[in-house]
Amino acid sequence: MRTIETLLADVPIFQGMSAEALELLSGCATNTRFADDAMLFREGDAANTFYVVRHGRVALETFVPARGPVTIETIDPGEVVGWSWLFQPHRWHFDARALGLVRATMFDAACLRTKCEQDPAFGYDLISRFTQVLIERLQWTRLRLLDVYGNGR
């Protein structure tokens, strides 16, 4: 059976991290699972975790009056769910729902924030990696904002 550490080495966002860094990370991580339709977190709740999806798909949602829950984006295996843990006020901005069975690695944000403060180099590396993911997600979101498939009317 593979340890969390070896699993993390394969996750794209952590690609190339040193063995020591992976050890630090795995120290704050546990494996977890969600049943179909279960909520990983809800909008407004305290953001003290983030997840790396290992199996299944997670839908980021928001509730729109008269429309109900609307999926903003789906997250697939190998991808990160959640960055609200990085900055104050540490509150979730969206709901996250499991679409089908989801297995994920859950990270304790408080634990990680402490380790980042103790080891600034590790902290900088982690923030940089998250920033890259953020930028990519932002680009894709902007592309969707353009509504390129609209017919221009």
Binding site: Q139, R144, Y149, G152
Partner: protein, 268 residues
Amino acid sequence: MATRPFRVTRRRRETSDTWTLELEPVAGPPLDFLPGQFTMLYAFGIGEVPISICGERGGRLVHTVRAVGAVTEAICGSKPGSVLGVRGPFGRGWPVEEALGQDVVVVAGGIGLPPLRPVLYECLRRRREYGDIFLLYGSRTPADLVYRHEVERWRGRFDIEVDVTVDRGEDGWRGNVGVVPKLIASARFDPAAAVAMVCGPEVMMHFAAGALLERGVPPEQIYVSMERDMKCGLGWCGHCQLGPTLICRDGPVYGWTQIEPLLEVREL
């Protein structure tokens, strides 16, 4: 060149504003074509528009049309038995031959799937001559997916990988919500041995090409289908110019290396 009368034999609604028509000539031989070519489709007394051919070679002439103006609305409203005019086929098609032996990555956005469908038909017909085949398809919402049932059937096959995403989900949609470049990032093709054919809105093609390059697909292996206003389809009216090229004559399919510098110049 005068238009040829073709009778509508079948009309099927794809989405709220898109219809697929099957046509056969009123007289004379059927129309042969290469995947990626288009015809100038004529609605009697109203006008003509360039539409990609999206059927199978050797079968009926098939066109999937989006109703966005007077001509396309008239075409989309043509019931079986009515007659449209056809001129063509025109243009240079997809690199179906060049892709032999390689992985084929078909990337479509919205109404960009119809011009690519003949590529899938051709590659699946000669399945053993190609590597892995991928269809990566994105649309605005699930209701805007064109050829939905056909895409689902392809997805069920064992010899083609199909991945679909939408910009916005709807009730009950449990598939991907996100952009096509994201599908490109995770599709398991071999970048060094892949030929990518991309069709969709220009912005989408630009981002898709970027994602393909990021995966390591050489720019010479990426092809796009360009679109501009066309009045003649024959290289005479001058409307389809994009810098040094006439899209009706030299395109609509182009290699990315040729097109990319032209797209960098605004309002070219």
